[in-house]
């Protein structure tokens, strides 16, 4: 399931080596940040969530079984669950204190991204969290169907269904926005 080098690093992490953990940070931080960044559309929140992902991994490292799941899949699963919690919290806050209609957009989106990228970003943010996550995992993070389904806690069939509906919605929005 895992390559020999990664297995050695994981064994050292499970034994509590913080040096091995730093190695994992070097290897996976960028990828986890990209996933969370695309999910939240907010760099600051994405930094916090990516940070929390690795801290949670370290704290509950004894629950990780490298024979059953790849490390990157496990980390993405933690990140995904944190994103879901984040969206729930935000929904609750928005119910308590109504915010302006463009709340889906992050404050930094327009400054950081090119116009066309911002349009795609905005379109992605209109999807449900699960549809967005499915597309980000398969299209941008290049996960196989099996691994993406594992991260989302779904069957491959359910993942396909999410992807199809998500892509169909994106197609409609982007056709209008980019023409």
């Amino acid at each position: 399931m895992v390559e020999e080098d990664e297995r050695q690093i994981i064994e050292r992490i499970l034994a509590g080596s913080d040096l091995a953990f730093r190695k994992i940070l070097d290897l996976h931080t960028q990828r986890i940040f990209n996933y969370v960044r695309r999910m939240t559309s907010n760099s600051i929140e994405a930094e916090d969530l990516a940070q929390e992902t690795f801290i949670r991994f370290w704290v509950s490292r004894d629950r990780f079984d490298p024979d059953r799941v790849k490390l990157t899949t496990w980390l993405h699963r933690i990140a995904h669950n944190l994103c879901i919690d984040y969206f729930r919290r935000r929904q609750l806050q928005e119910r308590q204190v109504p915010v302006q209609s463009d709340s889906q957009d992050s404050p930094d989106t327009d400054y950081e991204l090119s116009i066309r990228a911002a349009v795609v970003n905005k379109a992605l943010m209109t999807l449900s969290e699960r549809q967005r996550s499915a597309i980000v995992l398969c299209h941008y993070q290049n996960f196989s169907q099996h691994d993406a389904a594992h991260i989302l806690g779904l069957s491959v069939h359910a993942l396909e269904s999410l992807l199809r509906r998500g892509r169909s919605k994106l197609k409609q929005i982007l056709a209008e926005e980019l023409e």
Partner: protein, 153 residues
């Protein structure tokens, strides 16, 4: 492979065959070469893929560094949060899983009062009061050697 299944694959995973399931890839690629409808579906999916590819993230080197720094500083704080007593207890009481390897720790701690007693004892014996030569002479002067000899007899 039929058009219905091919449509489902392309609408779900896009036009890039590398994204398709390995079990169906060869069959689906062969089907796409023989069917004009399949070709048309591929073109439509490729258009959306191109749009999605526009969403490139900006350079995030600084963000990544901040994340790593944040995690490492959280680590330091976590280790500092443990009090001295807690750290001592953690050291003394071994993990249940690793009991055999760390059995020496409680044994050593149990021996500590004994070692402490021996150390205190040694310190006290070294510090016994030594008489100066004048004090020794005056003490001898108070003894009565004649009466001592008689009592011996």
């Amino acid at each position: 492979m039929n058009l219905e299944r091919f449509k489902l694959i392309v609408e779900s995973y896009g036009a890039d065959s590398q994204q398709w399931s390995g079990d169906e890839r060869v069959e689906a690629l062969e089907f796409s070469r023989t069917s004009s409808d399949a070709m048309s579906l591929l073109d439509q999916a490729a258009e959306l893929d191109q749009h999605l590819a526009l969403f490139e993230l900006p350079n995030s080197e600084l963000s990544v560094r901040r994340i790593e720094m944040g995690i490492l500083s959280a680590f330091k704080q976590e280790s500092l949060k443990q009090g001295t007593l807690e750290r001592l207890l953690n050291w003394v009481l071994p993990d249940f899983d690793d009991l055999a390897h760390t059995l020496w720790r409680p044994t050593l701690v149990a021996c500590m009062p004994l070692l402490l007693g021996v150390a205190i004892g040694l310190m006290l014996t070294n510090n016994t009061y030594e008489l100066s030569s004048d004090e020794e002479l005056s003490l001898l002067a108070f003894t009565d050697p004649v009466s001592e000899e008689w009592s011996n007899e």
